[in-house]
Symmetry: C2
Subunit: 726 residues, 2 copies
């Protein structure tokens, strides 16, 4: 085989075996050089130079035109967002609640999509594409020889053969169709990070067990049920003859995974606005945030499972366990990655006194948080999951070390980024319904999917709530369960997962169905949240304490907590945990303590060792570490800890309710740190909650009244940080 | 000609005339379909489906690998930035001044560049590229048929034939070489916007005439001189035989344009830190900011001029005037675009009461500012220039309408973006020295360029200062001129302009030279600023008033201004303009008034009409507009204007010194608004400045003493806004 052959790749030669590439590598410039000479000599001869200048000019003009179109398409989105913001303001101003801002963004997106689709002429796409046949597979980079000039091309994606015509016809439509990776790598991270960073940890950790159960078990159950139901639907479609291409079992499971990711945005925004019950808020928020993470990892492990079965795409026990292993590996890897970056940032901000320069501090914080995402992606883990846990760690540790200015800066920066990214995604969803060019509408599949997600959600909310209620003192009431059932709307994450790969027929059908489900749930369920809340008798108007000052928070907290006749179930266990050091109420929480044993161990570890090491707060390490590592302890403990714990605490509680709230919530954890918790005896749930209330009232009154009196419990030096008089 | 021929594009067929594309368009799917069938039938036959699954898998794996490498390369930059931030902190902490942060970022970039260049193995680039010969020109999109699958490729850029081998060899180096458009479209806009938004308008407008002269005339002179000198150097190189490819006269002019863009970053950061003289600061800052805009427009009009001469690339009077026309068109278009978006944002924020929702307001502000850039690019103007003027307009009008929270948010947001973008660019510059793969080092050219930029700067600073001093009462002293001469360092903008197009040999040589000039100026001149300031006897330690409260500012202002024996020249004319309504001092400023006639007209228009229409401040329109448009005036005037002008004023002056300072500076403008300024008589400059000082002292004392007493001048209702007692 002559080396020159490789330069001439016609379809007629495609049958040959690919030449050994390593051998070809040093010859490549030669080959290309030869191709160049052939092409140049074949061109118009004498006027070659002149025409090449003209061509260069034409290429430059074309690149300019392309750049202009890029600008126009981005501009479209920005104007859309601007319009959305103005309308949101109008809605907020007039207190319109039947349509949320995200729904609004989608409507505007839809309108612009229709205009782009039917209003713009088929532009000059025709002279921009050329076909060229390659040997055996697609490469990520392509060198193209054009009359002696070499141009580098990068792979954009696969196009299904039937759609090539429409791709050709409307250049503008193609321009507004973004690279799906943009959603995953640019728009999702700030949204997810913000969710982690602004997490209301008090309510979150109070319901941690239930949240984890809903997020992990619930999502897995939902994924499996939806996957199987959809496989039935697909079989049915095959019988009826509605299916024109392959649709494997793993595809169905993949659909189950992506559609199981519930969206926190719309419902929770309404909850926040109406000041609905905090525990329900915590359950829904926690579920949907972790849910997203679970769905990402689940879907990628299903994809990883696919190749193992190759063409069979059937169920295989070994492959199943392999994908479970992948799931666990990816999840724990991403979790570790996020936590480690957060810890590193905390250490850096603690030991460098960077807080004298808030701009540097904010920049460092931003970069470290972003690097988590990239680090995880580079290691093959999931960046979005890593960023979530990084956000939680940053809020828990790093936030305490930041200067006051940086706290507001970081908070505001991520708030703005989150807002823009979120509205962009929803606008894009609206736009995609008309501008996306690979839609596969299948009524049977769509109806099946709606039924499946309904059943899938019912099949995990009700049974899981039943089992959780066996263990929970504070039961999840029927109205809460119905509300959770109702609030399972799908949003940005399902969309981002669905758009990530739309190469095959099955994936295109999934994408279209996901889009419609998102539309339906955001408009109908999002709009129906307020009526549903009042219909289910769920209390609204409970003021959320995060924005108010701490003093008000404490008042508030008592007011909500000690009012026993208003609605007992949701507020009981918020004070139940306060009983830790009161021996009279200790009998009632054995179940709780046992189930949360690991978590309480973690909490005391965090409070006694991690907080003092990573932040300027907490008890001095010299008191918590054993005597023989005294020198190390003295090095690691911040000098601030010794002389003034109170002012630091107060700063802590400004934005994110850390220390104080955790201590409030897990006041009993320190008791168990010395192992005495096992001796508690159980009592009936009702009695426990009665006792709880009175004891919590006492504790709170004492704490608020006496102020900075430390409530030391046995073994550890835990200060009750409820004082507001500093 | 058969339709199937287009699908087989071998070099042997390149000689044919391109087929009529409009005709081919409807046939394209057919053509591609045929290519597909040929390729599919030629492939391994029975096992076709299985192998296609394997191929799909391989492509997916490859895409994943590529994605991972992208993450790693971004991660490299982020870690670089993190390292830079930590070192900056260390330097600031230890008060090290011989090396600025930007210089530091470059050094880190250099180190990482060396590691990447010599430390990483030649990775798997070899199996990712394939050559494929096209007919006549490069297309922006390419459809490639691979065994029945269609892949879309987008044009990345041209590669010079000699470099193909190195492109192949190191994939990692290629990955860290960003798309130059990233600099222009993502990194520069926030930097430039921030420059406009945080412009200290008082000092800027006080020296506006000189700034415009330096920026427009100076840059043009510098560009022309450098271009001609370099053409001489190129001729010399050709004689010596050092030049291996074409280098046209327009290329030389282009080099003159890109290298004339001086950088505000390093010197001004040091000025700011040392609190150096405010007027020198204003002159340098104003020059370098507008300079950048001028250089962009200049370089793009030189590029536009090029095609007119086609291959002659020689001087042509018609083409020259055409390119001057293009220059004026682009500049004024961009200016208008920026100003219009700013005005629209001001109107929206004024009339919607969006300030109740700071998040929405900030988001809107951000989007509108960004849309300026895109709008200008979409219309064929220069986005960066538009963004600069948008920033100035936003600071002048919109800023007054924002809520307090949004003011700090927008300020901080752009500050962080600016900081990150700037350090990223400088890190990248360091990195590019070793990782950029098309360097053309030519010692003669480099030495020539250093001499040329020195002469080019000398040839505009000294003559222009001489002419400006004829008109200025407050002369630009020799020490200031020397400092301006010395401070002409090149930075991000020159780099961004140079990297934008590195296709030809000439451009590559320019890029390498620019890079070295940037390195030299940032390290040597940036580091030498502090010694130079003390050597030239330029006062440092003048506290910059922008961060302090207004009260302190006024004190400060008087202290600096009325102290006649400290350094008379730079501070005289800051008060000279205050004499407007004092008839005793009016004789001395005829020259000044005449030259600034247009500007003063603008100022009174701005104060009487634009400010009241666009913001909540200024005199009510009902008093400034003629009686017959009373209804309109009442609609447009904000109700706040009538009842409390003072609190609004005070808010204005928090971040950006608007109203008060402008009025202070151009106090005489209102006098001239009714046309009476022409009657003033001239006196010697020295006498004028003496008188000025005493009168300005009086005016200031009166203003500060009496507080809110309005100093009405004839015709217009101008309130002297110096009161601090509100």
């Amino acid at each position: 085989m002559e080396p020159g052959d490789a330069a001439r790749l016609g379809p007629g030669r495609a049958a040959r075996a690919p030449p050994p590439r390593l051998l070809l590598l040093p010859l490549l410039p030669l080959l290309l050089g030869r191709g160049l000479r052939v092409a140049a000599s074949a061109s118009s001869g004498a006027a070659a130079e002149d025409s090449s200048a003209m061509e260069e000019l034409a290429t430059e003009k074309e690149a300019e035109e392309s750049h202009r179109q890029d600008s126009v398409s981005l501009l479209t989105f920005i104007l859309l967002l601007t319009l959305t913001i103005l309308t949101i303001w109008l809605f907020k101003h007039r207190r319109v609640r039947f349509l949320h801002e995200t729904g609004l963004a989608m409507i505007y997106g839809l309108i612009v999509g229709v205009i782009l689709r039917y209003g713009t002429p088929a532009t000059s796409g025709h002279d921009k594409s050329l076909s060229c046949t390659q040997e055996d597979r697609a490469f990520s980079t392509l060198l193209v020889n054009v009359s002696g000039k070499f141009f580098e091309y990068t792979l954009k994606g696969e196009i299904s053969p039937g759609k090539i015509n429409s791709v050709e016809q409307n250049d503008m439509l193609r321009k507004v169709t973004f690279d799906p990776e943009v959603f995953f790598n640019i728009l999702l991270p700030p949204i997810i990070f913000h969710a982690g960073y602004s997490l209301k940890k008090r309510h979150f950790f109070r319901n941690l067990g239930s949240i984890l159960a809903y997020a992990f078990l619930g999502t897995a159950v939902s994924c499996f049920i939806i996957g199987n139901l959809m496989y039935g639907v697909v079989k049915l479609m095959k019988l009826v003859g509605q299916l024109s291409d392959k649709f494997y079992y793993t595809d169905c499971l993949f659909f189950g995974a992506i559609i199981s990711a519930t969206d926190p945005v719309t419902v929770l925004a309404i909850f926040n606005e109406l000041h609905a019950d905090v525990d329900l808020y915590a359950l829904l928020f926690g579920e949907s945030v972790l849910n997203d993470a679970v769905a990402i990892v689940l879907s990628s492990s299903i994809v990883a499972y696919q190749p193992a079965g190759l063409n069979t795409h059937a169920f295989d026990a070994a492959a199943f366990f392999k994908s479970v292993g992948i799931f666990l590996g990816i999840f724990s890897g991403s979790f570790t990655m996020g936590a480690v970056t957060g810890v590193v940032t905390a250490l850096v901000t603690k030991f460098t006194k960077l807080h004298c320069f808030p701009l540097l501090e904010t920049a460092l914080f931003f970069l470290m948080s972003w690097s988590t995402f990239l680090l995880a992606e580079a290691c093959g883990f999931t960046g979005v999951v890593a960023v979530l846990f990084c956000g939680i760690t940053q809020a828990h540790y790093t936030y305490n070390n930041l200067s006051v200015e940086s706290r507001s800066r970081t908070k505001q920066l991520f708030e703005v980024l989150h807002f823009l990214a979120e509205n962009f995604i929803f606008s894009y969803m609206g736009l995609a319904l008309f501008t996306f060019q690979k839609h596969v509408f299948s009524p049977v599949f769509i109806i099946g999917a709606f039924v499946a997600i309904f059943l899938g959600r019912a099949a995990h909310i009700y049974p899981l709530s039943f089992f959780l209620n066996l263990g929970r003192r504070h039961k999840i009431g029927w109205n809460f369960q119905h509300m959770m059932m109702f609030s399972g709307l799908r949003g940005a994450m399902a969309f981002a997962l669905a758009i990530r790969d739309t190469a095959s027929y099955a994936r295109q059908m999934m994408f279209t169905t996901t889009l419609l489900i998102v539309f339906f749930t955001v408009w109908v369920i999002g709009g129906g949240t307020t009526p549903m809340l009042s219909w289910l008798n769920i209390r609204v108007g409970v003021e959320e304490p995060s924005e108010e000052d701490q003093n008000e928070l404490r008042r508030q907290y008592i007011r909500v907590g000690v009012d026993p006749d208003q609605d007992p179930p949701p507020n009981n266990d918020s004070f139940q945990v306060l009983q830790g050091d009161g021996p009279d109420s200790a009998r009632g929480n054995r179940t709780k303590q046992e189930s949360a044993w690991l978590f309480r161990l973690w909490y005391s570890f965090d409070h006694n060792y991690l907080k003092p090491i990573l932040t300027h707060s907490g008890p001095p390490l010299t008191t918590t570490l054993p005597a023989w590592c005294g020198l190390l302890a003295r090095c690691l403990t911040s000098p601030q800890v010794y002389d003034n714990q109170e002012p630091l605490r107060e700063e802590d509680s400004d934005f994110i309710l850390t220390e104080g709230d955790l201590t409030l919530t897990y006041g009993d954890s320190t008791v168990t740190a010395n192992g005495s918790s096992g001796s508690h005896t159980a009592s009936t749930s009702l009695e426990g909650s009665r006792r709880t209330k009175s004891s919590s009232e006492e504790v709170l009154d004492r704490a608020l009244g006496i102020g900075d009196q430390p409530v030391s419990s046995r073994g550890t030096r835990l200060v009750f940080p409820l004082e507001d008089n500093a």
